[in-house]
């Protein structure tokens, strides 16, 4: 055996010994802390901080492997543990911030909706007041004139009532037909927030784009016709959703642009602009598992929420 070979053998023996010595508790903790952080949301939301934690752990592992003094390994492992915990905490913070943003957006939508309700209630109250004033004026006139006016008013009122009843019946019928029409175009579900029409993102848009595909325009034209045929007092909310691939904020922008594109198209097709709002909700409201291609395709979607009108 040559000297070189002997040396090699000796070195590998030393290396084996090196691997065999037991790691201090701090290093074991650091490994566990890193594993935990890496398995959690940190990988997705705070990869840079996770990487810092990994670098710190690697340093401790190297010192351990190089048989540095134990207290140095312990201190480095302690630092690595803290860095892993920081990465995990930052990721949780990020998730809370996402939840907050979603709540704020929802709050905004609800506020708009409430404002519209209050406005319509106010209008009704105003009308009632005008009617009362008119009645008051009428009572100051001659008795005969008053009687005639009252009779006239009551006749008008009953005509109006009959008219309104007819309109309501027609509206209900139209709404039923409209929903049946929509069911052929996209998935239609009834939820507490109204009738939800779900259109697949892959039918409407090319990947990462927000220009409507030609096929989508035909579909949306049908949607527009069906919506127009429905209850004329109902309002629509167009929501864009993406899957979890890509950056959060990019997805947020993309989903908003897509929702806007659908809204603009519907407005071009005779739906009054004040009946329709668009919101981009990004990747936050998945309906399927994002780990499969099929699930992600389901999550890339545009939802049109038909909210019933008052009355």
């Amino acid at each position: 055996m040559s000297i070189k070979q002997q040396l090699l053998l000796g070195t590998s023996f030393v290396m084996l010994l090196g691997c065999a010595h037991t790691p201090p508790a701090e290093l074991v903790n650091a490994r566990e802390a890193y594993e935990q952080a890496a398995e959690g949301p940190s990988k997705k939301y705070t990869p840079a901080d996770l990487h810092v934690a990994k670098t710190a752990l690697d340093l401790a592992e190297k010192s351990f492997h190089d048989q540095e003094e134990t207290w140095i390994v312990q201190s480095q492992a302690y630092v690595a543990t803290r860095k892993a915990q920081v990465a995990a905490s930052l990721a949780r913070t990020h998730i809370f911030e996402l939840g907050l943003a979603a709540s704020e957006m929802k709050e905004e939508q609800l506020k708009d909706y409430e404002a519209a309700m209050i406005k319509s209630q106010l209008a009704t109250a105003n009308r009632a007041l005008t009617d009362e004033q008119a009645a008051g004026e009428a009572s100051s006139r001659e008795h005969a004139a008053e009687l005639a006016a009252e009779q006239e008013a009551s006749a008008t009122k009953s005509r109006e009532l009959a008219e309104e009843k007819k309109l309501r019946a027609e509206a209900d019928k139209r709404a039923a037909i409209a929903i049946a029409d929509l069911a052929r175009i996209g998935a239609v579900t009834q939820e507490t927030r109204g009738t939800v029409i779900t259109l697949s993102g892959s039918v409407l848009f090319a990947s990462s784009k927000y220009a409507l595909l030609p096929a989508a325009q035909a579909k949306l034209s049908e949607v527009a016709l069906a919506l127009l045929a429905g209850d004329p007092s109902s309002t629509f909310l167009v929501e864009g959703h993406t899957d979890t691939q890509g950056k959060d904020d990019a997805n947020m922008v993309l989903s908003q642009n897509r929702a806007n594109a659908v809204r603009d198209y519907l407005i071009q097709h005779e739906i009054a602009a004040d009946r329709i709002t668009a919101a981009g909700l990004g990747e936050g409201r998945s309906i399927s598992d994002n780990s499969s291609a099929e699930g992600r395709a389901n999550n890339r979607r545009v939802e049109i929420v038909v909210r019933p009108g008052k009355g």
Binding site: W71, E97, S103
Partner: protein, 134 residues
Amino acid sequence: MTPTEVNSQQRAGTSTSISKRSLALVGFVLATACASFPPPTDDVANALASVRGAEELGAEEVPQAKLQLQLAREEVAKAQALMTEGEHESAHYQALQASNDADLAIALVREDKARTVAKSAKQRVNAVEAGVTP
């Protein structure tokens, strides 16, 4: 010919003695490495700054963060004491631990704040939603 060029030519001629000398130098540096560990003034200053940051953010009010803050304070005091004793390397590691404990305290305070804000927003929305939808 500039003086530098003259020098480098001379060096090229005596490369053997140079490498011997640099070897000796490396050996000397290695031998004195422990003794010449520089005082970790920056590390201690960083640790103190992180501790102050955690205090200002209100780490005292968040139980988990408070624990980390206390650890950081103890470690920073220890690092300062070690530095005075001339134990620079130990002081360096103590200061790093203090910094990282304080940083964790800061992260935990922020997390706690984000959790509280998100929770109350969610409750607000739920309340409004319950009122609006029939």
